[in-house]
Symmetry: C2
Subunit: 519 residues, 2 copies
């Protein structure tokens, strides 16, 4: 338990070699979508070895069909490696051959490595409100639950330090999302620079790949007096201050990056939005941007009233140069065709947040339509509009909502709206990577990608067990996934998506560093 620092890992061995079953989604569907059918994604399932360069945390190579010790030894011989099975061994041997530390996945038929999950939309300070949203919809909920909670992350009597709550909540949410296998997250913080910077530091220290957004709210007409930026200038200045802190914290931006975060059109002035667009374009490369769009009918009406010059919601952001290839737009449930075309043209991405959309009665996002239009789509937990900080739960909800949408759209739709298990897991990994414009860095196990991965172990309920043993195995700490042994890998992964939880996540790595669990 605990984390091994990247330095310690690199000192021990040149490479870490992971051995076992590797499951991932393909970069593209095996069978593309047609007007009559959804695309088909087939799981890529391979037994073998993936080795990671400990100097940069990236995958250096892989070889499938390594199943026996003899085959592993042959691979080591051909590569000129010295295999290392425990840390002691590594220190004893001072030979010149590159040392390679071996980590095996658990369970032969119920354990596998899977790409880390990517949460493209999560409000870190709202974590304490998870599960509290009453019977309200978006705009009521913001005023009743969200703004008061977020306001408590600053302390007016000590404006230069994060509140005590900021410390405890940010520590808890990063720990919790890592335990769910989330290796990358796009976070909204609050309007407070010290607390936002703290969140960046927590992610950097714990080793979670993160985009950290100081929330921008400069419209005094729409934002509560107790929780808003004092002026457009103050908003831009605070945003810049937080960006500079984060760029200094992680100059390479490998692990933690700033993301410019106008909360949504309603909370910002036209001038404020335009200045944030300029700020994003002022860095090289341009800074990431995230905001909300088209979540709720009342919200859309309000945006129309506030920005009478713009025909659509998307146009409000586009006029301010906020729709870019590095922009994450959360929700996008009720986007018009012209808006989708514009988002596609700008290569921006959409964070689909099904648990939140259902909880707040916002509606069912037509994900298939977005995908058909060529828009990048990932998944977002949207804590705490979403009740769960788990992307696995979010994938489940994405599939569930798509099944209701399919029923709603009727038979002529031929079930095209349904997101299969594989497609939901694609959105949770590869799709999210595309939304973050990092599809060559994370989301899969190709050479050169970061080792952002989770080791999954499913429960066992062997049919050959006697009664008593079955009882024990049904209650083992492995959680609710019951694997009997006759299932295909596709069925095992389906059982994982539908009945799994954090108990199945035995270890998590980001950039080769162990950040959760036992390895």
């Amino acid at each position: 338990m605990g984390e091994i620092s990247p330095v310690a890992v690199a000192k021990c061995c040149s490479y870490t070699l992971y051995l076992g079953t590797f499951i991932q989604l393909p970069r593209e569907p095996t069978t593309p979508a047609t007007p009559k059918s959804a695309p088909i994604y087939k799981l890529l399932v391979n037994d073998g070895a993936v080795w990671v360069d400990n100097s940069d945390g990236r995958i250096a190579g892989s070889k499938w069909d390594i199943r026996s010790q003899r085959e592993l030894d042959e691979l080591a011989a051909s590569m000129g490696w010295k295999l290392v099975y425990d840390d002691k061994e590594a220190k004893d041997d001072e030979g010149t051959a590159p040392r390679v530390k071996i980590i095996r996945s658990m369970g032969e038929n119920n354990g596998f490595f899977f790409p880390g999950f990517i949460d493209t939309h999560i409000h870190a300070p709202q974590y304490p409100n998870s599960g509290i949203f009453g019977s309200t919809t978006l705009l009521d909920w913001l005023n009743k639950y969200t703004f008061p909670m977020e306001a408590s992350f600053g302390d007016k009597s000590a404006p230069d330090t994060p509140s005590r709550r900021a410390h405890t909540v940010y520590s808890a949410i990063v720990t919790r999302t890592l335990s769910h296998g989330t290796t990358s997250a796009a976070y909204y913080a609050t309007i407070h620079v010290p607390a936002t910077n703290l969140l960046a530091s927590v992610c950097h220290t714990r080793g979670q790949r993160a985009f950290i957004g100081r929330v921008c709210m400069d419209n005094p007409e729409t934002c509560p007096d107790f929780y808003r930026d004092e002026s457009t200038e103050a908003m831009v200045e605070a945003t810049r201050a937080s960006m500079e802190y984060i760029y200094r914290l992680d100059p390479s931006g490998t692990l933690v990056k700033p993301i410019i975060t106008p909360r949504f059109a309603i909370s910002c002035t036209s001038d404020g939005l335009a200045q944030l667009g300029k700020l994003a374009a002022s860095t090289n490369p341009p800074t990431y941007i995230q905001t909300h769009i088209s979540e709720n009918g009342d919200e859309i009406e309000t945006v129309k009233a506030l920005f009478p010059d713009c025909v659509t919601y998307t146009e409000v952001y586009d006029k301010a140069n906020l729709i870019t290839p590095r922009t994450i737009l959360a929700h996008g449930i009720h986007l018009l065709e012209s808006e989708r075309a514009l988002i596609r043209e700008r290569s921006a991405g959409v964070a689909h947040c099904p648990a939140s959309n259902t909880s707040l009665s916002s509606g069912m996002c037509p994900v298939r339509t977005l995908l058909d239009d060529g828009i990048n789509v990932g998944l977002g937990t949207d804590v705490s509009g979403g009740y769960s900080s788990s992307i696995l739960e979010t994938a489940r909800q994405a599939s569930l909502v798509s099944r209701l949408l399919s029923h709603h759209n009727g038979k002529e739709n031929m079930g095209r709206d349904k997101l299969s298990v594989e497609e939901a897991l694609y959105l949770a990994t590869r799709g999210g990577a595309r939304v973050l414009n990092m599809q060559d860095q994370i989301g899969g196990f190709e050479d050169g990608m970061f080792w952002d991965a989770q080791m999954i172990e499913l429960g066992g309920c062997l049919e050959s067990d006697a009664d008593a043993t079955v009882e024990q195995s049904a209650l083992q700490p492995g959680g609710n996934v019951c694997i009997y042994g006759w299932e295909t890998w596709e069925e095992r992964v389906a059982k994982w998506m539908w009945t799994g939880d954090d108990r199945n996540v035995k270890a998590v790595w980001v950039g080769g560093r162990l950040v959760h669990g036992i390895a």
Copy 2:
């Protein structure tokens, strides 16, 4: 963890007194529904003591506002009790005062007793398929996944014994549902009498209150050759044999009862249905009945074609005298007004199975309409059309689906369709009890009711903790519910419903007997 036999408990002490916070739903809404608003249920939250008569497992009395040892001692003095804190003490003392064993709930602000959950619709043999339903809808899914699995519970070479799979799966599902806090369940078994009887024995031995249904399928035109009754006569005979076994197993019917189970109209002949209706009426009191109704559009069309004499699906069952006050109708998504009126007239109940209905794209059941019409509604996991064997997850799905239905039905509906946390938990307890026609026996903590209860403990994430402690507490085995201490009980219970799981269920009792966990 083992179970204490009821005999051992009764020997130790005359009463068991539970001490702590008790949370339940009221029998009736605090504010009834109006055409413009949903009913409001307010949680009943009481600190105090509930004592259970160990001779019959029923609640003998309760007293609120017992918070200190002094108050407890005063209660004991006034009742003439000898309080017993551990079993040894009980054996040492042979005085004449009734001995009362004390069990305290865990956690002061995060632990409570709650009525056991009631699962009004679950297919025990389908448990191994949990999470496997592909992209199909009802009728395909039955043929592809369900019937082959169910067929394997009999063994043609040994027709008088349950298959090995029956042993392991029935043991696992009863263990699993108990661990989720399900104290009563209405089970569908398979067509096999020995395996059905085995399920009854497992429930009886483990102490789960259960209705056990041998599945009836006598229509050779619609049922697969490898899995159906050989004739109507054979079907009725087999049903009668299983009923007789179960009535012998538990003559009082206190714990386990038979339930006559025509699978659905499609799988039975008119004559078969009529004979099952007669069989139900032939016992005194009449035997319970369960079946499926109006789940899926294709199903409804098929029923129309198969029973051209009947105008509606409900009429098919009613003609056979299968709609009674002791009948559980699963799903009921697409019921017509006339069907709802008939179901109400007959005082039958509906098992609402939201996870299943969404998973199989069956549609969104208009629960508010059923309730407005005066129909009893409970929740069903519908394993494995539903992916989860947890009624807590089912309550969550019921609330989620109702929020989408509310959005779908638009603003003029004023959000009436939404099921609040309290209402979803009402359906999970009191509502289920009404469907089982046992509203005076289970579902709450009134005097005379069975002590069918679960002890819940929520996780703690104290704001005053230092960082390291927060990290530990976020990962404690208590699961994902994070309680900070500032929440009202309503908010704590909401967090439990939205983010809780079996890790929060620390102990479960049925009729006063400990059947899961540590007390």
